[in-house]
């Protein structure tokens, strides 16, 4: 069964911003960025696929995160790369709100091998 990670509580993430959920908590190979954009939560691997940068520090707008260093853009829903200089997608994770809890179900292909 897929892991169910309580990543945050409602109110922890400000709309238009993101928090970093440590890979120590999620059990994944990369930290996970938990975004709140226009009332919707999204979760992606936190490290930009271009160079080292934290996507949680990026500009979040209309379903897209723009990397804080070189403006590579990724779709918040599926992690698809939308513009250069990034050329590779980042992994997306399932996320849903359960009462007061924001729950991430990590993408199985991104789980760290114990």
């Amino acid at each position: 069964m897929a892991a169910r990670i309580v990543a945050a509580r409602v109110g922890d993430v400000v709309d238009g911003e993101a928090i970093v959920v440590s890979k120590a908590v999620t059990g994944t190979v990369d930290d996970i960025a938990l975004f709140l954009d226009d009332g919707e939560y999204y979760a992606l691997d936190n490290t930009c696929s271009h160079e080292l940068a934290s996507l949680a520090d990026g500009w979040i707008e209309r379903g897209v995160v723009e990397c804080p260093t070189h403006t590579g853009r990724f779709c918040l829903r599926d992690g698809r790369v939308l513009s250069a200089p990034a050329t590779e997608d980042v992994a997306a994770h399932q996320v849903h709100v359960d009462g007061e809890e924001i729950v991430i179900v990590p993408n199985p292909v991104r789980l760290a091998t114990p």
Partner: protein
């Protein structure tokens, strides 16, 4: 709208050329796309003055796409091929002619050389291609003395990277403080001072002569003689207009295009090589920035499939050096007042309108600023100067 364009041939696989191919597919263009590049790969250039100067950095690391990604998108890429003429299509150096309904010139630029005596000596380099970066790497090892000529973005980043390699660097520029128009005086000063803080010797002046040898010698305009292992000139680019000129297309320090990137019917030019003639008939400056090339390509992709291009906002740029990420948008000089926000950011204001911003390790402030500029949201100097007010909140308040 159907524009009747069923195939596109793109000459040049730098940022503009590759972005166009990719964006055409993104907009559902199903016709043939052929991208012709004389280099061995289609790749991104900004890392050449930074990451690519690390010893083990490979060309694949900066390729825009893998072969399989390009195949998946059905983008035919001909690398290592030069276009020698435009009669009846793009004539390749092997005699092949590639035809298309739209021919796009994205030939970019080449590094400008300076006319000092000995400018063509083997120890004098420029930086524009991956091979250039590899050559500089070979000649600028730890302990070597490198003279960097020009302290603009390339020269400054190169100096930082070479210091990181353990080379001794002398950086010379005719201007005491470069980058003032983009970064504003205060930040330009701060950025330029980082070179000396990081052990580079910074000089104001020009090079009179370079004498080959191992080590060689550089003679500066004030008569100073420096023993040097390598000289790297970062003096901007010259647009690659020769192909267009030989085809009889309009050329004047760039290939002349209208506001829709059209040179003549069926032929377009984008990126560093293109120069726009405005509605008023005046020739604009060429934009030699990364994002300008990207936006040219995105606009042309829209136009070629009959979509409306997105409006373009204030110009954005960035630079990475000495572990610091700098970015800016718009203009930091001219009419108006400059407002400092601690040491992290500066703004340029005309009345209640923001016209420019620059930041050090605070990119989100510039990302917010560019939206404030583009949406003409009124701001006050007092609010901008207060680091406790996140700029993004000004955008939200305006909604």
């Amino acid at each position: 709208m159907n524009t009747g364009i069923g195939s596109v041939v793109i000459v040049g696989g730098g940022l503009a050329g590759h972005t166009l191919a990719d964006a055409l597919r993104g907009r559902g263009f199903a016709g043939r796309i052929t991208l012709i590049e004389r280099e061995p790969a289609v790749y991104d250039r900004p890392p050449l003055s930074k990451a690519a100067l690390a010893e083990d950095f490979a060309l694949e690391n900066i390729a825009f796409a893998t072969t399989s990604q390009l195949e998946q998108k059905s983008i035919q890429v001909l690398t290592g091929r030069t276009v020698v003429g435009l009669d009846g299509g793009a004539q390749l150096d092997d005699g092949t002619i590639v035809t298309g309904d739209a021919l796009v010139l994205a030939t970019g630029g080449r590094a400008r050389t300076l006319p000092f005596t000995g400018h063509d000596a083997p120890l004098v380099h420029t930086l524009r291609t991956f091979d250039d970066a590899v050559r500089i790497r070979r000649h600028a090892r730890a302990g070597c003395h490198v003279l960097v000529v020009g302290a603009g973005l390339i020269g400054a980043e190169l100096t930082s990277s070479l210091r990181n390699r353990g080379a001794r660097v002398t950086l010379i520029d005719p201007v005491e403080i470069p980058l003032v128009p983009a970064a504003g005086e205060a930040f330009a000063r701060l950025l330029h001072a980082m070179h000396a803080d990081n052990g580079a010797e910074v000089r104001v002046g020009t090079v009179r002569e370079v004498i080959a040898g191992s080590p060689g010698e550089a003679v500066l305009d004030d008569g100073t003689r420096l023993s040097v292992d390598a000289v790297v000139v970062g003096a901007g680019i010259l647009p690659n207009v020769e192909l267009a000129r030989s085809a009889g297309l309009p050329v004047e320090d760039g290939i002349i295009v209208d506001h829709e990137h059209r040179v003549i019917d069926g032929i377009y030019a984008i990126g560093d090589v293109a120069r726009t003639r405005g509605h008023d008939g005046e020739l604009r400056r060429r934009h030699e920035h990364w994002e300008a090339a990207q936006l040219d390509a995105l606009e042309l992709a829209a136009i070629l499939v009959g979509d409306e291009p997105e409006p373009r906002g204030a110009a954005w740029w960035w630079s990475d050096r000495y572990g610091v990420h700098v970015e800016g948008v718009g203009q930091m000089t001219g009419n108006g007042e400059t407002v400092m926000r601690g040491n992290q950011a500066a703004f340029h204001l005309v009345g209640d309108q923001l016209v420019g911003a620059v930041s050090l390790d605070d990119p989100m402030t510039v990302r917010a600023a560019r939206r404030l500029i583009d949406q003409h949201i009124p701001v006050s100097a007092a609010v901008l100067a207060d680091p406790s007010v996140p700029l993004r909140s000004l955008l939200r308040a305006a909604r």
